[in-house]
Protein backbone atom coordinates (compact mmCIF):
# COMPACT_ATOMS: atom_id res chain seq x y z
CA UNK A 1 0.00 0.00 0.00
CA UNK A 2 1.29 3.42 -0.90
CA UNK A 3 0.68 6.25 1.51
CA UNK A 4 1.31 9.92 0.95
CA UNK A 5 4.22 11.39 2.87
CA UNK A 6 2.22 13.19 5.58
CA UNK A 7 0.04 10.13 6.03
CA UNK A 8 3.11 7.97 6.41
CA UNK A 9 4.55 10.27 9.05
CA UNK A 10 1.24 10.36 10.94
CA UNK A 11 0.99 6.58 10.93
CA UNK A 12 4.53 6.27 12.23
CA UNK A 13 3.98 8.74 15.04
CA UNK A 14 0.75 7.00 16.04
CA UNK A 15 2.48 3.64 16.06
CA UNK A 16 5.38 5.01 18.10
CA UNK A 17 3.00 6.54 20.63
CA UNK A 18 1.07 3.31 20.88
CA UNK A 19 4.17 1.27 21.55
CA UNK A 20 5.42 3.89 24.03
CA UNK A 21 2.23 3.75 26.06
CA UNK A 22 2.49 -0.01 26.32
CA UNK A 23 6.20 -0.54 26.76
CA UNK A 24 7.61 2.52 28.60
CA UNK A 25 5.81 1.63 31.86
CA UNK A 26 7.14 -1.92 31.59
CA UNK A 27 10.63 -0.55 31.09
CA UNK A 28 10.16 1.69 34.12
CA UNK A 29 9.27 -1.33 36.23
CA UNK A 30 12.45 -3.03 35.14
CA UNK A 31 14.59 0.07 35.76
CA UNK A 32 13.00 0.70 39.14
CA UNK A 33 13.74 -2.83 40.21
CA UNK A 34 17.40 -1.74 39.93
CA UNK A 35 16.85 1.73 41.40
CA UNK A 36 18.63 2.16 44.77
CA UNK A 37 16.06 4.79 45.83
CA UNK A 38 13.41 2.97 47.87
CA UNK A 39 10.64 5.31 46.68
CA UNK A 40 11.68 5.00 43.05
CA UNK A 41 12.95 8.56 42.74
CA UNK A 42 13.84 9.75 39.26
CA UNK A 43 16.46 9.75 37.84
CA UNK A 44 17.84 6.67 39.60
CA UNK A 45 20.87 7.65 41.69
CA UNK A 46 22.64 4.42 40.77
CA UNK A 47 22.31 0.74 40.18
CA UNK A 48 21.63 -1.97 42.72
CA UNK A 49 20.69 -5.61 42.84
CA UNK A 50 19.69 -5.42 46.51
CA UNK A 51 15.99 -5.60 45.70
CA UNK A 52 16.49 -8.70 43.58
CA UNK A 53 18.29 -10.31 46.49
CA UNK A 54 15.56 -9.16 48.87
CA UNK A 55 12.91 -10.54 46.59
CA UNK A 56 14.73 -13.85 46.39
CA UNK A 57 14.72 -14.07 50.17
CA UNK A 58 11.14 -12.84 50.57
CA UNK A 59 9.26 -15.98 51.50
CA UNK A 60 5.96 -14.38 50.52
CA UNK A 61 7.12 -13.73 46.97
CA UNK A 62 8.72 -17.12 46.62
CA UNK A 63 5.66 -18.90 47.91
CA UNK A 64 3.50 -16.90 45.54
CA UNK A 65 5.76 -17.72 42.60
CA UNK A 66 5.55 -21.39 43.47
CA UNK A 67 1.76 -21.23 43.75
CA UNK A 68 1.54 -19.43 40.41
CA UNK A 69 3.66 -22.06 38.70
CA UNK A 70 1.56 -24.88 40.12
CA UNK A 71 -1.68 -23.13 39.15
CA UNK A 72 -0.40 -22.36 35.67
CA UNK A 73 0.84 -25.88 35.03
CA UNK A 74 -2.32 -27.44 36.41
CA UNK A 75 -4.64 -25.22 34.40
CA UNK A 76 -2.55 -25.74 31.27
CA UNK A 77 -2.65 -29.49 31.67
CA UNK A 78 -6.42 -29.52 32.05
CA UNK A 79 -6.79 -27.11 29.13
CA UNK A 80 -4.58 -29.23 26.88
CA UNK A 81 -6.57 -32.37 27.49
CA UNK A 82 -10.06 -30.90 27.38
CA UNK A 83 -9.37 -28.24 24.74
CA UNK A 84 -7.85 -30.80 22.39
CA UNK A 85 -10.66 -33.28 22.88
CA UNK A 86 -13.36 -30.69 22.28
CA UNK A 87 -11.53 -29.33 19.22
CA UNK A 88 -11.32 -32.81 17.71
CA UNK A 89 -14.95 -33.50 18.48
CA UNK A 90 -16.08 -30.24 16.90
CA UNK A 91 -13.90 -30.54 13.85
CA UNK A 92 -14.09 -34.22 13.04
CA UNK A 93 -17.60 -35.23 13.97
CA UNK A 94 -20.98 -33.89 13.09
CA UNK A 95 -23.39 -34.01 15.99
CA UNK A 96 -26.37 -32.15 17.29
CA UNK A 97 -25.31 -28.97 19.10
CA UNK A 98 -21.82 -28.81 17.64
CA UNK A 99 -22.01 -25.08 16.99
CA UNK A 100 -23.37 -24.50 20.47
CA UNK A 101 -20.47 -26.41 22.04
CA UNK A 102 -17.83 -24.45 20.25
CA UNK A 103 -19.58 -21.22 21.26
CA UNK A 104 -19.83 -22.28 24.88
CA UNK A 105 -16.15 -23.22 24.96
CA UNK A 106 -15.04 -19.88 23.58
CA UNK A 107 -17.37 -17.77 25.70
CA UNK A 108 -15.37 -17.68 28.99
CA UNK A 109 -12.59 -15.63 27.40
CA UNK A 110 -15.10 -12.93 26.49
CA UNK A 111 -16.91 -12.94 29.84
CA UNK A 112 -15.72 -10.31 32.32
CA UNK A 113 -13.37 -12.00 34.79
CA UNK A 114 -15.40 -10.69 37.65
CA UNK A 115 -18.50 -12.50 36.41
CA UNK A 116 -16.62 -15.75 35.96
CA UNK A 117 -15.04 -15.21 39.38
CA UNK A 118 -18.27 -14.63 41.23
CA UNK A 119 -20.03 -17.45 39.42
CA UNK A 120 -17.26 -19.94 40.14
CA UNK A 121 -17.03 -18.80 43.72
CA UNK A 122 -20.72 -19.47 44.27
CA UNK A 123 -20.59 -22.75 42.42
CA UNK A 124 -17.56 -24.05 44.32
CA UNK A 125 -19.01 -23.08 47.64
CA UNK A 126 -22.36 -24.72 46.99
CA UNK A 127 -21.05 -27.84 45.28
CA UNK A 128 -17.56 -28.53 46.59
CA UNK A 129 -17.76 -27.32 50.16
CA UNK A 130 -20.41 -29.86 51.20
CA UNK A 131 -18.05 -32.49 49.81
CA UNK A 132 -15.30 -31.22 52.07
CA UNK A 133 -13.28 -29.49 49.38
CA UNK A 134 -12.68 -25.89 50.29
CA UNK A 135 -11.41 -23.04 48.15
CA UNK A 136 -7.70 -23.43 47.54
CA UNK A 137 -5.15 -24.19 44.87
CA UNK A 138 -7.42 -26.78 43.29
CA UNK A 139 -10.26 -24.32 42.76
CA UNK A 140 -7.82 -21.76 41.33
CA UNK A 141 -6.66 -24.34 38.81
CA UNK A 142 -10.21 -25.18 37.78
CA UNK A 143 -11.05 -21.48 37.54
CA UNK A 144 -8.06 -20.78 35.32
CA UNK A 145 -8.79 -23.81 33.20
CA UNK A 146 -12.15 -22.33 32.15
CA UNK A 147 -10.45 -19.68 30.07
CA UNK A 148 -7.23 -21.57 29.30
CA UNK A 149 -9.26 -24.18 27.44
CA UNK A 150 -10.23 -21.50 24.95
CA UNK A 151 -6.73 -20.80 23.70
CA UNK A 152 -5.86 -24.47 23.35
CA UNK A 153 -9.18 -25.12 21.63
CA UNK A 154 -8.69 -22.22 19.22
CA UNK A 155 -5.15 -23.23 18.31
CA UNK A 156 -5.96 -26.86 17.76
CA UNK A 157 -9.16 -26.26 15.82
CA UNK A 158 -7.42 -23.75 13.56
CA UNK A 159 -4.80 -26.37 12.79
CA UNK A 160 -7.37 -29.10 12.20
CA UNK A 161 -9.33 -26.86 9.87
CA UNK A 162 -6.27 -26.32 7.72
CA UNK A 163 -5.32 -29.99 7.79
CA UNK A 164 -7.14 -32.14 5.28
CA UNK A 165 -8.69 -35.26 6.77
CA UNK A 166 -7.08 -37.28 4.02
CA UNK A 167 -3.78 -37.52 5.95
CA UNK A 168 -5.45 -39.67 8.54
CA UNK A 169 -7.37 -41.59 5.92
CA UNK A 170 -4.12 -42.25 4.09
CA UNK A 171 -2.55 -43.67 7.25
CA UNK A 172 -5.52 -45.96 7.87
CA UNK A 173 -5.53 -46.90 4.23
CA UNK A 174 -1.93 -48.07 4.62
CA UNK A 175 -2.92 -50.26 7.53
CA UNK A 176 -2.54 -48.10 10.63
CA UNK A 177 -5.32 -48.63 13.15
CA UNK A 178 -6.95 -45.70 14.88
CA UNK A 179 -4.47 -45.21 17.71
CA UNK A 180 -1.44 -45.75 15.49
CA UNK A 181 -2.79 -43.14 13.08
CA UNK A 182 -3.08 -40.68 15.93
CA UNK A 183 0.46 -41.33 17.13
CA UNK A 184 2.13 -41.34 13.72
CA UNK A 185 0.17 -38.72 11.83
CA UNK A 186 -2.38 -36.69 13.74
CA UNK A 187 -0.30 -35.89 16.79
CA UNK A 188 2.87 -34.82 14.92
CA UNK A 189 0.75 -32.57 12.75
CA UNK A 190 -1.04 -30.84 15.63
CA UNK A 191 1.88 -30.91 18.07
CA UNK A 192 3.10 -27.38 17.48
CA UNK A 193 -0.46 -26.08 17.79
CA UNK A 194 -0.71 -27.88 21.13
CA UNK A 195 2.55 -26.38 22.35
CA UNK A 196 1.56 -22.91 21.20
CA UNK A 197 -1.84 -23.25 22.85
CA UNK A 198 -0.27 -24.60 26.03
CA UNK A 199 2.24 -21.74 26.26
CA UNK A 200 -0.47 -19.15 25.75
CA UNK A 201 -2.66 -20.87 28.32
CA UNK A 202 0.19 -20.82 30.81
CA UNK A 203 0.84 -17.14 30.18
CA UNK A 204 -2.84 -16.35 30.63
CA UNK A 205 -3.02 -18.22 33.90
CA UNK A 206 0.25 -16.80 35.16
CA UNK A 207 -0.90 -13.18 35.24
CA UNK A 208 -4.57 -13.72 36.04
CA UNK A 209 -5.84 -11.87 39.07
CA UNK A 210 -9.61 -11.38 39.07
CA UNK A 211 -10.77 -14.98 38.82
CA UNK A 212 -7.93 -15.96 41.16
CA UNK A 213 -9.16 -13.59 43.85
CA UNK A 214 -12.57 -15.20 43.82
CA UNK A 215 -11.47 -18.81 43.65
CA UNK A 216 -8.40 -18.85 45.90
CA UNK A 217 -8.88 -19.87 49.47
CA UNK A 218 -7.45 -17.81 52.32
CA UNK A 219 -3.88 -19.10 52.37
CA UNK A 220 -3.40 -19.27 48.61
CA UNK A 221 -1.64 -16.39 46.93
CA UNK A 222 -0.50 -16.35 43.32
CA UNK A 223 2.17 -13.93 42.20
CA UNK A 224 -0.19 -11.30 40.77
CA UNK A 225 -2.34 -11.43 43.89
CA UNK A 226 0.76 -11.06 46.04
CA UNK A 227 1.83 -8.00 44.04
CA UNK A 228 -1.60 -6.50 44.30
CA UNK A 229 -1.73 -6.84 48.07
CA UNK A 230 1.83 -5.57 48.57
CA UNK A 231 1.71 -2.64 46.19
CA UNK A 232 0.16 -0.33 48.75
CA UNK A 233 2.97 -0.93 51.24
CA UNK A 234 5.81 1.53 50.58
CA UNK A 235 8.16 -0.81 52.40
CA UNK A 236 7.62 -3.50 49.80
CA UNK A 237 7.62 -1.25 46.71
CA UNK A 238 11.09 -2.22 45.41
CA UNK A 239 10.46 -5.92 45.85
CA UNK A 240 7.14 -5.53 44.06
CA UNK A 241 9.05 -3.99 41.18
CA UNK A 242 11.36 -6.97 41.04
CA UNK A 243 8.49 -9.44 41.13
CA UNK A 244 6.66 -7.48 38.45
CA UNK A 245 9.76 -7.55 36.26
CA UNK A 246 10.00 -11.32 36.73
CA UNK A 247 6.34 -11.66 35.88
CA UNK A 248 6.83 -9.68 32.68
CA UNK A 249 9.75 -11.85 31.63
CA UNK A 250 7.96 -15.07 32.47
CA UNK A 251 4.92 -14.06 30.41
CA UNK A 252 6.90 -12.75 27.47
CA UNK A 253 8.86 -15.94 26.93
CA UNK A 254 5.92 -18.29 26.39
CA UNK A 255 4.13 -15.81 24.17
CA UNK A 256 7.22 -15.29 22.06
CA UNK A 257 7.67 -19.05 21.69
CA UNK A 258 4.00 -19.58 20.92
CA UNK A 259 4.12 -16.95 18.21
CA UNK A 260 7.16 -18.48 16.61
CA UNK A 261 5.56 -21.90 16.68
CA UNK A 262 2.35 -20.79 15.08
CA UNK A 263 4.00 -18.64 12.41
CA UNK A 264 6.29 -21.53 11.66
CA UNK A 265 3.33 -23.65 10.81
CA UNK A 266 1.30 -20.94 9.15
CA UNK A 267 3.82 -20.99 6.35
CA UNK A 268 2.67 -24.54 5.80
CA UNK A 269 5.59 -26.63 4.81
CA UNK A 270 7.24 -27.26 8.13
CA UNK A 271 4.94 -28.78 10.66
Amino acid sequence: MNLSRPARITVRIAAALGFAVIYVPLLLVLINSLNPDRSSGWPPPGLTFDWWVDAWHSSGARGALWTSLKAGLGATAIALVLGTLVAFACQRYKFFGREAISFVVVLPIALPGIVTGVALNTAFRTVLEPLGVGLGLFTVIVGHATFCIVVVFNNVIARLRRMPGSYEEAAMDLGAHTFRTFVDVTFPLVRSALVAGGLLAFALSFDEIVVTTFTAGPGVQTLPVWIFSNMARPQQAPVVNVVAAVLVLLSVIPIYLAQRLSSDTASGSRI
Binding site: L174, A176, P188
Partner: protein, 345 residues
Protein backbone atom coordinates in the same frame (compact mmCIF):
# COMPACT_ATOMS: atom_id res chain seq x y z
CA UNK B 1 -16.50 -65.67 -6.56
CA UNK B 2 -13.46 -66.83 -8.47
CA UNK B 3 -11.41 -64.12 -10.14
CA UNK B 4 -13.56 -61.32 -8.84
CA UNK B 5 -11.56 -58.56 -7.12
CA UNK B 6 -14.48 -56.36 -6.15
CA UNK B 7 -18.18 -56.93 -6.03
CA UNK B 8 -20.65 -54.20 -5.11
CA UNK B 9 -24.21 -55.22 -4.45
CA UNK B 10 -27.06 -52.76 -4.34
CA UNK B 11 -24.77 -50.19 -2.80
CA UNK B 12 -26.45 -47.05 -1.47
CA UNK B 13 -25.26 -43.99 0.36
CA UNK B 14 -27.31 -41.02 1.44
CA UNK B 15 -25.96 -37.85 3.01
CA UNK B 16 -28.88 -36.21 4.74
CA UNK B 17 -31.33 -35.79 1.91
CA UNK B 18 -28.89 -36.24 -1.00
CA UNK B 19 -28.72 -39.71 -2.44
CA UNK B 20 -25.07 -39.77 -3.49
CA UNK B 21 -25.06 -43.44 -4.51
CA UNK B 22 -28.41 -44.97 -5.44
CA UNK B 23 -28.07 -48.71 -5.83
CA UNK B 24 -24.83 -49.58 -7.59
CA UNK B 25 -24.10 -53.11 -8.83
CA UNK B 26 -20.58 -53.73 -10.10
CA UNK B 27 -18.21 -56.62 -10.56
CA UNK B 28 -14.58 -55.88 -11.21
CA UNK B 29 -12.30 -58.71 -12.24
CA UNK B 30 -8.81 -59.46 -10.95
CA UNK B 31 -6.12 -57.49 -12.75
CA UNK B 32 -8.58 -55.28 -14.55
CA UNK B 33 -8.04 -51.60 -15.28
CA UNK B 34 -11.52 -50.41 -14.42
CA UNK B 35 -12.61 -46.78 -14.77
CA UNK B 36 -15.51 -44.96 -13.23
CA UNK B 37 -16.53 -42.14 -15.50
CA UNK B 38 -19.22 -39.59 -14.84
CA UNK B 39 -20.00 -35.93 -14.39
CA UNK B 40 -19.24 -34.03 -11.20
CA UNK B 41 -21.40 -35.13 -8.29
CA UNK B 42 -22.41 -38.44 -9.86
CA UNK B 43 -21.14 -40.43 -6.87
CA UNK B 44 -17.82 -41.79 -8.15
CA UNK B 45 -15.75 -40.66 -5.16
CA UNK B 46 -18.40 -41.89 -2.75
CA UNK B 47 -18.33 -45.37 -4.30
CA UNK B 48 -14.54 -45.39 -4.11
CA UNK B 49 -14.61 -44.32 -0.47
CA UNK B 50 -17.01 -47.11 0.35
CA UNK B 51 -14.69 -49.62 -1.29
CA UNK B 52 -11.75 -48.24 0.71
CA UNK B 53 -13.80 -48.20 3.91
CA UNK B 54 -13.80 -44.47 4.65
CA UNK B 55 -17.53 -44.30 4.24
CA UNK B 56 -20.06 -46.81 5.53
CA UNK B 57 -22.78 -47.69 3.01
CA UNK B 58 -26.35 -46.81 3.96
CA UNK B 59 -27.22 -50.23 2.59
CA UNK B 60 -25.74 -52.86 0.31
CA UNK B 61 -22.49 -54.80 0.50
CA UNK B 62 -18.88 -54.49 -0.58
CA UNK B 63 -17.00 -57.70 -1.33
CA UNK B 64 -13.25 -57.87 -1.85
CA UNK B 65 -11.83 -61.09 -3.29
CA UNK B 66 -15.03 -62.88 -2.42
CA UNK B 67 -15.38 -61.90 1.23
CA UNK B 68 -17.78 -59.36 2.63
CA UNK B 69 -15.85 -56.37 4.01
CA UNK B 70 -18.77 -53.97 4.34
CA UNK B 71 -18.26 -53.59 8.09
CA UNK B 72 -14.46 -53.63 8.13
CA UNK B 73 -12.29 -50.58 8.83
CA UNK B 74 -9.98 -49.21 6.12
CA UNK B 75 -6.93 -50.75 7.84
CA UNK B 76 -8.51 -54.17 7.65
CA UNK B 77 -8.91 -54.11 3.87
CA UNK B 78 -6.30 -55.12 1.34
CA UNK B 79 -6.88 -51.98 -0.70
CA UNK B 80 -4.74 -48.90 -1.09
CA UNK B 81 -5.81 -45.49 -2.30
CA UNK B 82 -4.12 -42.75 -4.29
CA UNK B 83 -5.88 -39.65 -3.08
CA UNK B 84 -6.85 -36.79 -5.32
CA UNK B 85 -4.77 -34.41 -3.18
CA UNK B 86 -2.10 -37.15 -2.75
CA UNK B 87 -2.23 -36.81 1.07
CA UNK B 88 1.53 -37.30 1.46
CA UNK B 89 2.49 -36.93 5.13
CA UNK B 90 4.14 -33.50 5.31
CA UNK B 91 6.25 -34.36 8.37
CA UNK B 92 7.91 -37.36 6.78
CA UNK B 93 10.44 -37.60 3.97
CA UNK B 94 9.48 -39.10 0.65
CA UNK B 95 11.16 -42.36 1.64
CA UNK B 96 9.39 -42.48 5.00
CA UNK B 97 6.11 -41.83 3.25
CA UNK B 98 6.64 -44.72 0.89
CA UNK B 99 7.85 -47.03 3.66
CA UNK B 100 5.04 -46.14 6.06
CA UNK B 101 2.68 -48.95 5.04
CA UNK B 102 5.49 -51.48 5.46
CA UNK B 103 6.47 -50.01 8.83
CA UNK B 104 2.92 -50.40 10.07
CA UNK B 105 3.02 -54.01 8.98
CA UNK B 106 6.24 -54.48 10.96
CA UNK B 107 8.46 -55.22 7.98
CA UNK B 108 12.04 -55.00 9.34
CA UNK B 109 13.75 -51.71 8.64
CA UNK B 110 16.42 -52.77 6.13
CA UNK B 111 13.83 -54.70 4.15
CA UNK B 112 11.32 -51.87 4.06
CA UNK B 113 13.94 -49.31 3.07
CA UNK B 114 14.99 -51.58 0.25
CA UNK B 115 11.43 -51.99 -0.97
CA UNK B 116 10.71 -48.28 -0.63
CA UNK B 117 13.78 -47.44 -2.71
CA UNK B 118 12.77 -49.93 -5.34
CA UNK B 119 9.28 -48.48 -5.47
CA UNK B 120 10.70 -44.97 -5.81
CA UNK B 121 13.01 -46.13 -8.56
CA UNK B 122 10.08 -47.68 -10.41
CA UNK B 123 8.38 -44.27 -10.54
CA UNK B 124 11.73 -42.68 -11.50
CA UNK B 125 12.23 -40.81 -8.22
CA UNK B 126 15.21 -42.75 -6.91
CA UNK B 127 17.12 -39.58 -5.95
CA UNK B 128 14.26 -37.90 -4.15
CA UNK B 129 13.98 -40.13 -1.08
CA UNK B 130 15.33 -37.63 1.43
CA UNK B 131 13.16 -34.71 0.32
CA UNK B 132 9.98 -33.54 1.94
CA UNK B 133 6.77 -33.73 -0.07
CA UNK B 134 6.62 -29.92 -0.04
CA UNK B 135 9.86 -29.84 -2.05
CA UNK B 136 8.39 -31.77 -4.97
CA UNK B 137 6.46 -30.73 -8.06
CA UNK B 138 2.87 -31.83 -8.60
CA UNK B 139 3.81 -34.65 -10.92
CA UNK B 140 6.52 -35.89 -8.56
CA UNK B 141 4.10 -35.89 -5.62
CA UNK B 142 1.66 -37.85 -7.68
CA UNK B 143 4.32 -40.47 -8.37
CA UNK B 144 5.27 -40.65 -4.69
CA UNK B 145 1.62 -41.23 -3.85
CA UNK B 146 1.57 -44.00 -6.41
CA UNK B 147 4.76 -45.57 -5.05
CA UNK B 148 3.40 -45.40 -1.50
CA UNK B 149 0.20 -47.13 -2.49
CA UNK B 150 1.93 -49.76 -4.63
CA UNK B 151 4.80 -50.73 -2.36
CA UNK B 152 2.71 -53.01 -0.16
CA UNK B 153 1.38 -54.83 -3.24
CA UNK B 154 -2.30 -54.52 -2.37
CA UNK B 155 -4.81 -56.60 -4.30
CA UNK B 156 -6.62 -53.47 -5.40
CA UNK B 157 -5.50 -49.93 -6.02
CA UNK B 158 -8.07 -47.15 -5.94
CA UNK B 159 -7.21 -43.93 -7.73
CA UNK B 160 -9.40 -40.85 -7.38
CA UNK B 161 -8.71 -38.51 -10.28
CA UNK B 162 -4.98 -38.82 -9.63
CA UNK B 163 -4.10 -36.88 -12.75
CA UNK B 164 -6.57 -34.08 -12.17
CA UNK B 165 -4.03 -31.53 -10.98
CA UNK B 166 -1.47 -32.09 -13.73
CA UNK B 167 -0.97 -30.13 -16.91
CA UNK B 168 -1.88 -31.71 -20.22
CA UNK B 169 1.59 -32.89 -21.17
CA UNK B 170 2.44 -34.45 -17.83
CA UNK B 171 -1.04 -35.88 -17.71
CA UNK B 172 -0.63 -37.74 -20.98
CA UNK B 173 2.79 -38.95 -19.92
CA UNK B 174 1.42 -40.21 -16.60
CA UNK B 175 -1.47 -41.96 -18.34
CA UNK B 176 1.02 -44.01 -20.30
CA UNK B 177 3.12 -44.70 -17.21
CA UNK B 178 0.15 -45.67 -15.07
CA UNK B 179 -1.03 -48.11 -17.67
CA UNK B 180 2.47 -49.58 -17.95
CA UNK B 181 2.78 -49.96 -14.17
CA UNK B 182 -0.61 -51.62 -14.00
CA UNK B 183 0.31 -54.12 -16.68
CA UNK B 184 3.60 -54.80 -14.94
CA UNK B 185 2.30 -55.39 -11.41
CA UNK B 186 -1.00 -56.92 -12.49
CA UNK B 187 -2.94 -55.26 -9.68
CA UNK B 188 -6.60 -54.36 -10.11
CA UNK B 189 -6.90 -50.62 -10.71
CA UNK B 190 -10.09 -48.73 -10.04
CA UNK B 191 -9.65 -45.37 -11.63
CA UNK B 192 -12.01 -42.45 -11.12
CA UNK B 193 -12.12 -39.72 -13.72
CA UNK B 194 -14.49 -37.33 -15.37
CA UNK B 195 -12.29 -37.12 -18.45
CA UNK B 196 -13.81 -39.42 -21.05
CA UNK B 197 -10.75 -39.49 -23.24
CA UNK B 198 -8.66 -40.65 -20.30
CA UNK B 199 -11.17 -43.37 -19.50
CA UNK B 200 -11.45 -44.51 -23.11
CA UNK B 201 -7.71 -44.74 -23.70
CA UNK B 202 -6.67 -46.42 -20.44
CA UNK B 203 -9.40 -48.79 -19.36
CA UNK B 204 -10.23 -52.42 -19.90
CA UNK B 205 -13.77 -51.60 -18.88
CA UNK B 206 -15.64 -48.45 -17.94
CA UNK B 207 -18.66 -47.80 -15.75
CA UNK B 208 -20.51 -44.62 -16.68
CA UNK B 209 -22.07 -42.97 -13.63
CA UNK B 210 -24.99 -40.60 -13.57
CA UNK B 211 -26.76 -39.31 -10.47
CA UNK B 212 -25.54 -42.10 -8.22
CA UNK B 213 -26.35 -44.88 -10.67
CA UNK B 214 -24.36 -46.88 -13.18
CA UNK B 215 -25.77 -46.21 -16.63
CA UNK B 216 -23.60 -48.64 -18.52
CA UNK B 217 -20.64 -50.95 -17.98
CA UNK B 218 -18.58 -52.03 -20.94
CA UNK B 219 -15.35 -51.89 -22.86
CA UNK B 220 -14.33 -48.49 -24.22
CA UNK B 221 -15.49 -49.55 -27.69
CA UNK B 222 -18.88 -50.68 -26.38
CA UNK B 223 -19.37 -47.49 -24.42
CA UNK B 224 -18.33 -45.32 -27.30
CA UNK B 225 -19.95 -47.13 -30.20
CA UNK B 226 -23.00 -48.62 -28.54
CA UNK B 227 -24.15 -46.33 -25.73
CA UNK B 228 -26.83 -48.08 -23.72
CA UNK B 229 -28.76 -45.01 -22.70
CA UNK B 230 -29.32 -41.51 -24.05
CA UNK B 231 -27.20 -40.22 -21.18
CA UNK B 232 -24.17 -42.28 -22.17
CA UNK B 233 -24.65 -41.30 -25.81
CA UNK B 234 -24.61 -37.68 -24.76
CA UNK B 235 -21.83 -37.86 -22.18
CA UNK B 236 -19.25 -39.97 -24.01
CA UNK B 237 -17.93 -38.47 -27.20
CA UNK B 238 -19.60 -35.57 -28.94
CA UNK B 239 -23.32 -35.75 -28.57
CA UNK B 240 -24.52 -36.30 -32.14
CA UNK B 241 -28.15 -37.26 -32.16
CA UNK B 242 -30.83 -37.49 -34.81
CA UNK B 243 -34.30 -37.27 -33.30
CA UNK B 244 -37.97 -37.23 -34.30
CA UNK B 245 -38.58 -35.86 -37.81
CA UNK B 246 -34.93 -35.82 -38.76
CA UNK B 247 -34.52 -39.47 -37.78
CA UNK B 248 -37.67 -40.35 -39.68
CA UNK B 249 -36.47 -38.64 -42.85
CA UNK B 250 -32.81 -39.65 -42.75
CA UNK B 251 -32.93 -43.11 -41.18
CA UNK B 252 -36.55 -43.94 -41.84
CA UNK B 253 -37.38 -44.68 -38.21
CA UNK B 254 -38.86 -42.29 -35.69
CA UNK B 255 -36.45 -42.84 -32.78
CA UNK B 256 -33.22 -41.40 -31.41
CA UNK B 257 -30.08 -42.28 -33.32
CA UNK B 258 -26.49 -41.58 -32.37
CA UNK B 259 -23.87 -41.17 -35.09
CA UNK B 260 -20.21 -40.67 -34.23
CA UNK B 261 -18.82 -37.49 -35.86
CA UNK B 262 -15.77 -39.21 -37.36
CA UNK B 263 -18.00 -41.65 -39.26
CA UNK B 264 -19.66 -38.88 -41.25
CA UNK B 265 -18.24 -37.70 -44.54
CA UNK B 266 -18.79 -34.15 -45.75
CA UNK B 267 -19.44 -33.95 -49.52
CA UNK B 268 -20.44 -31.27 -51.99
CA UNK B 269 -24.20 -30.96 -52.17
CA UNK B 270 -24.23 -32.13 -55.75
CA UNK B 271 -22.43 -35.40 -54.94
CA UNK B 272 -24.32 -38.35 -56.39
CA UNK B 273 -26.10 -40.86 -54.21
CA UNK B 274 -24.26 -43.75 -55.73
CA UNK B 275 -23.12 -45.63 -52.64
CA UNK B 276 -25.52 -48.30 -51.42
CA UNK B 277 -26.58 -48.68 -47.80
CA UNK B 278 -25.53 -45.19 -46.84
CA UNK B 279 -27.55 -42.59 -45.03
CA UNK B 280 -27.50 -39.13 -46.51
CA UNK B 281 -28.62 -35.76 -45.30
CA UNK B 282 -28.31 -32.31 -46.87
CA UNK B 283 -27.74 -29.15 -44.91
CA UNK B 284 -25.92 -25.88 -44.45
CA UNK B 285 -22.56 -25.55 -42.72
CA UNK B 286 -23.19 -23.42 -39.63
CA UNK B 287 -19.71 -23.49 -38.17
CA UNK B 288 -16.27 -24.77 -39.09
CA UNK B 289 -13.69 -25.43 -36.37
CA UNK B 290 -10.13 -26.01 -37.44
CA UNK B 291 -8.47 -28.42 -34.95
CA UNK B 292 -5.05 -28.76 -36.52
CA UNK B 293 -5.09 -32.43 -37.39
CA UNK B 294 -8.79 -32.41 -38.18
CA UNK B 295 -11.71 -30.10 -38.88
CA UNK B 296 -15.09 -30.14 -37.19
CA UNK B 297 -18.14 -29.19 -39.26
CA UNK B 298 -21.40 -28.25 -37.58
CA UNK B 299 -24.15 -28.74 -40.12
CA UNK B 300 -27.77 -27.61 -39.78
CA UNK B 301 -29.82 -30.28 -41.50
CA UNK B 302 -32.68 -29.47 -43.82
CA UNK B 303 -34.57 -32.22 -42.05
CA UNK B 304 -34.09 -30.41 -38.73
CA UNK B 305 -31.44 -30.72 -36.01
CA UNK B 306 -27.71 -30.37 -36.23
CA UNK B 307 -24.95 -32.92 -36.79
CA UNK B 308 -21.23 -32.66 -36.15
CA UNK B 309 -18.84 -34.22 -38.64
CA UNK B 310 -15.14 -34.69 -38.02
CA UNK B 311 -12.83 -34.84 -41.05
CA UNK B 312 -9.13 -35.58 -41.03
CA UNK B 313 -7.21 -32.77 -42.68
CA UNK B 314 -5.64 -34.91 -45.35
CA UNK B 315 -5.37 -32.24 -47.99
CA UNK B 316 -7.21 -29.26 -46.62
CA UNK B 317 -5.51 -26.33 -44.92
CA UNK B 318 -6.97 -23.77 -42.56
CA UNK B 319 -7.75 -21.35 -45.43
CA UNK B 320 -9.69 -23.91 -47.45
CA UNK B 321 -11.63 -24.86 -44.39
CA UNK B 322 -12.92 -21.36 -43.66
CA UNK B 323 -14.46 -21.18 -47.14
CA UNK B 324 -16.91 -23.92 -46.21
CA UNK B 325 -18.82 -21.73 -43.76
CA UNK B 326 -22.37 -21.13 -45.00
CA UNK B 327 -22.02 -23.51 -47.95
CA UNK B 328 -24.43 -26.30 -48.82
CA UNK B 329 -23.20 -29.83 -48.19
CA UNK B 330 -24.31 -33.42 -48.19
CA UNK B 331 -23.44 -35.64 -45.23
CA UNK B 332 -23.05 -39.32 -45.85
CA UNK B 333 -22.29 -42.29 -43.65
CA UNK B 334 -22.72 -46.02 -43.70
CA UNK B 335 -25.96 -47.26 -42.24
CA UNK B 336 -24.19 -49.50 -39.76
CA UNK B 337 -23.07 -46.35 -37.93
CA UNK B 338 -26.70 -45.45 -37.25
CA UNK B 339 -26.91 -46.50 -33.64
CA UNK B 340 -30.40 -46.59 -32.22
CA UNK B 341 -30.15 -45.44 -28.63
CA UNK B 342 -32.00 -47.92 -26.41
CA UNK B 343 -34.75 -46.62 -24.23
CA UNK B 344 -35.99 -44.14 -26.80
CA UNK B 345 -39.00 -44.23 -29.04
Amino acid sequence: MEGMAIRLQNLRKTFGRTEAVAGVELEIADGEFFSMLGPSGSGKTTVLRMIAGFEAPTSGTVELAGSDVTRLAPFERDVHTVFQDYALFPHMTVEQNVAYGLKVRKVPKPERLKQAREALASVRLADFGTRRPSQLSGGQRQRVALARALVGRPKVLLLDEPLGALDLKLREQMQVELKAIQREVGITFVFVTHDQEEALTMSDRIAVFNQGRVEQVGTPAQIYERPATPFVAGFVGTSNLLTDDAAEQVVGDRATYSIRPEKIRVLKESALADEPRHSRATGTVAEVVYLGDATRFLVDLDAGGRLTALQQNLETSSEDVAAFRGSRVTLQWHQRHNFRVPGTR
